[in-house]
Subunit: 258 residues, 2 copies
Amino acid sequence: MPPRDELRLRLYADFMSQPSRAVIIFSRCNKLPVEVQPVLIHKGETRSPAYLERNPLGKVPLLEDPGAACSATETSAGDGCFRLPESAAIMSYLSFKFPELVPEHWYPRSDPVRRALVDSALHWYQGNIRAGAMRLSFHKVIARRLGQQGDERVAADGLKTLQVALSGLQSYWLSGGARPFMTGTQPSAADLLCACELEQLIMLRTPDHGTCLGEIMAPYPVVQAWRQRVRDACEPHYSDVHTVLLKAAGVVLQPAKL
Amino acid sequence: MPPRDELRLRLYADFMSQPSRAVIIFSRCNKLPVEVQPVLIHKGETRSPAYLERNPLGKVPLLEDPGAACSATETSAGDGCFRLPESAAIMSYLSFKFPELVPEHWYPRSDPVRRALVDSALHWYQGNIRAGAMRLSFHKVIARRLGQQGDERVAADGLKTLQVALSGLQSYWLSGGARPFMTGTQPSAADLLCACELEQLIMLRTPDHGTCLGEIMAPYPVVQAWRQRVRDACEPHYSDVHTVLLKAAGVVLQPAKL
């Protein structure tokens, strides 16, 4: 039985946002009853009064669960609807909310050691892969598109952070190739977040950016093979969800197979 | 009965590292059987071959649990000892490992909504408070102490990130003062991490840094009051654990009360 409309979960997301894409792919791979509500960053929609009322942090993704037993009343907006920012927290919440739909490997519920490893990978992602890649793509490309000024030196610092992170992803998390995914033999929420973050660097493809995704990834063949594995494990959703990004980056898409 | 020596948990940590301090305070507040093993970053100890064998990422803190049922064999170093990097993951692991010692407010185990909120705050900390404060203190002070070159523009970008984060901490997480701690009426692991990160900025106190903690915090009175609450909730451990930092920053300590 599908959930009643007023109890359906809503995900406010932008297909151009790396963490938004990770949560959308996670939801589609696991057939979760989550409705995506587009909020377009480049049109200023994350800063609109209506959205800021939902999420005063002005960020996507945001999950709304009107059916949650909102015991944490002091953190709700007063309308009894539970609102949750932060992609990693959203995916772990969804894993516990739909245990019959989400296999344990995406976010382990029952084994505390495996859960700790995925938590560790999720926090590491934030402080390393995202800390590097996000500053790089923001200061090289996104700032300009939002009418702001990017800073080359901050971009360079982001690239340095990213290179150290890619090296850690290759040697530690993927164990030099011995481990297919970051925390085991199947993908987790952390693999998804890292992969979606790296995809964003396709935006660096034009020559005036001084660097591009292929160049950045070249020294990390283990990471490249893993990236393909993450993609394969999540098709067709992975490609579908990245269509908007590829178009924005000016990548010519192959016509869909008949 | 205290745990047998070979089964005792070990925390590799540096009192000069913000996340290390948060985990040490968490352990002491909850009287956890965790032994702290100092690893001094400024002496290069996180880069020593012996430590890199423990944690190839070369970071502190790291938790070692020789007694964990290490089901995730593919991620252990082969000696059966479970090793966990990332402070937030360590605290949530310890909360599940010692449910009889760690009150739910530090990291909720039974209520999925409350847990999701703390997870959200933990991930937000990493991408906002830490992303800003860490780059600011690193490029202003720490780099020089490690014999590296800091970059003023990266520091400035860090300060900007931090200011947006402090504003979000004040208005969203602390609800403009209506919520005593980030996710409710009692402190969580996220409050500890954020507070310890901000303490680090005491290193900016000398005039040639162009800014100092007091100046940075001045526009955020709600954050200042919260910071005092976090400290008060964790005494005497909070002050004890920060002694090394205060000495390094050249702060004259009050003689201990008799």
